[in-house]
């Protein structure tokens, strides 16, 4: 009997905690989104773009290159059986622009920038820097959270475009330069097949949605973490796990909406 009561009260408590968490995260999202239009914040946002965006360039570019190369290699071995290796260009371009670009960049971004954001905010909380901002009558949402938020949303779509461009070049490197696919057909069939709105813009929309989810999770996890070393490490792990799952889940939904029947 007692066991049952404990079970249900525990269930209720954890549900309430979850709902509480979602509420707190939504309030934070609201605060961060609408704290933007201030000159000082724009300057802070630009310096954050450097940290989350520019400093993620290397990993994104290298990954893009290898993904493009692998795609071309795999694609070629299959297409050549049907004598269709001329279609290698659109195959590489479409799979990268529609799926691999947004998803892989977002996963990399979650691991590289999301975890860093959580750890940074968590440590600021643990060392009472957030508290001391509040006591100085400065809203940490405005000065700390909001610039990082917007920096993420601005950076990720750009990183995604760079990833896709380099991926297509990597495909060219393997497909054309190494395996001998005709360069003219690589580019011209790609140009004829890839549509601006359907493929490129949809990829950008995907990555913007992923960016929102990643920075939201990362900043909320940091902001609400238990301010101890275990708490911060747990929050950082959760950021990477939750955002990765969210990216993959959302990708399916977005793909269904964009390309589904």
């Amino acid at each position: 009997m007692n066991f049952l009561v404990n079970y249900f009260s525990g269930l209720g408590k954890s549900t309430l905690n979850r709902v509480n968490g979602v509420g707190a995260a939504s309030i934070m999202l609201y605060g961060a989104l609408f704290a933007f239009p201030q000159w000082k914040n724009i300057r802070l946002t630009i310096s954050q773009i450097y940290i989350v965006g520019v400093q993620s360039l290397l990993i994104v570019m290298v990954s893009g290159l290898f993904i493009g190369m692998v795609m071309a290699l795999q694609g070629y071995t299959i297409l050549v059986n049907y004598g269709a290796e001329g279609s290698l260009g659109p195959m590489v371009a479409l799979s990268i622009l529609r799926e691999l670009g947004p998803v892989v960049t977002a996963l990399l971004f979650a691991g590289r920038a999301g975890s860093a954001l959580t750890a940074e905010i968590g440590l600021m909380k643990a060392t009472e820097q957030l508290s001391s901002l509040e006591m100085m009558a400065i809203d940490p949402l405005r000065r700390v959270v909001s610039p990082r938020f917007w920096a993420g949303i601005i950076s990720l779509p750009m990183l995604t475009l760079i990833f896709s461009a380099i991926g297509i070049l990597g495909g060219h490197l393997v497909g054309v330069d190494w395996l001998g696919v005709d360069a003219g057909s690589y580019w011209s069939i790609m140009q004829a097949t890839v549509e601006w709105e359907k493929d490129v813009v949809n990829g950008i929309i995907k990555s913007a949605v992923f960016a929102l989810v990643i920075v939201w999770i990362a900043l909320y996890k940091g902001y609400s973490c238990i301010p101890t070393s275990e708490g911060i490490s747990q929050a950082t792990t959760q950021t990477v796990v939750y955002s990765s799952l969210a990216i993959l889940g959302l990708d399916f939904i977005l793909t269904a909406l964009m390309f589904g029947i």
Binding site: T127, E128, Q129, S131, M135, M136, A137, I138
Partner: protein, 267 residues
């Protein structure tokens, strides 16, 4: 006559399920140094966060300059916070900026002063705490005592009316402790401040305080001028002043009798 800058009445506070304060009433007189002493772990820092409006009590009120901290609008609370300032135990300096930028930060945020005026002000504040020479250092290059003094310079940057010190002496060597004691006293007088010092370093703080409260067992167990406190006949107060291990404030955290715990039901 002097007025109270902060008055707390019948405050009760729970953290989760745990009761931190049963019933606290105290007042802080303008222009004075008020010490709040008590064993560690009884939520002295929590008290300062309640005064600053970062936490909300379950019952009772905190009045700062005539307004209830927990009933005013958020904007008004932020206005009130500009008049109060808090020195955190860790210093809470922003680790990505130099000492100079740390002290300049509240000025840059809250005033439209020219950068040259800010520079002068910051230098003056740093001079007051003896760190003008360390302006360009980063917080991780400072010793613990210096970090606390730098944080103090930042705390007085906006010329607050009330400054709250959270364990200013904890973990300090005798020299920096002496420096901090002198600074708190001198700043209070020179800047016409009101100070609340939360600490368990009885000797140091009783030397400079005008009035003192002793907290234990979720409430206030003694209050008075340092003389009155020293001569108090309350066994609780005397235990705290002498530092006895056991007494009205028990050495043991509440638990079952040790026999029952160790020997199981057979005892």
């Amino acid at each position: 006559m002097s007025e109270n800058i902060v008055s707390i009445t019948d405050m009760q506070f729970y953290r989760g399920e745990r009761e931190i304060y049963k019933d606290i009433s105290l007042s802080v007189e303008r222009g004075k140094i008020t010490a709040i002493m008590g064993p560690s772990g009884i939520g002295k820092t929590t008290l300062l966060k309640l005064i600053g409006g970062q936490l909300t009590p379950n019952r009772g009120s905190v009045i700062f300059q005539g307004d209830d901290v927990h009933k005013v609008s958020r904007n008004r609370l932020y206005e009130m916070r500009r008049k109060m300032s808090m020195l955190f135990q860790s210093g809470a300096l922003f680790t990505n900026m130099s000492v100079f930028d740390n002290v300049a930060y509240p000025l840059r945020e809250h005033t439209k002063l020219d950068e040259s005026i800010i520079e002068t002000l910051v230098k003056l504040k740093l001079e007051a705490v003896g760190l003008r020479g360390a302006a360009q250092l980063l917080p991780n290059e400072l010793s613990g005592g210096m970090a606390r003094r730098a944080a103090l310079a930042r705390a007085i940057a906006l010329d607050p009316e009330l400054i709250m010190y959270d364990e200013p002496f904890a973990g300090q060597d005798p020299i920096s402790m002496g420096v901090l004691v002198k600074l708190i006293k001198a700043l209070n007088k020179a800047l016409d401040l009101t100070s609340i010092v939360v600490t368990h370093d009885v000797k140091e703080v009783l030397g400079i305080a005008d009035y003192a409260y002793i907290m234990a067992n979720k409430t206030i167990i003694g209050a008075g001028t340092p003389e009155q406190i020293k001569n108090s006949d309350s066994p609780l107060v005397q235990q705290f002043l002498r530092g006895d291990a056991d007494g009205p404030v028990p050495f043991h955290f509440p638990a079952n009798p040790v026999e029952a715990d160790l020997l199981g039901d057979s005892a």
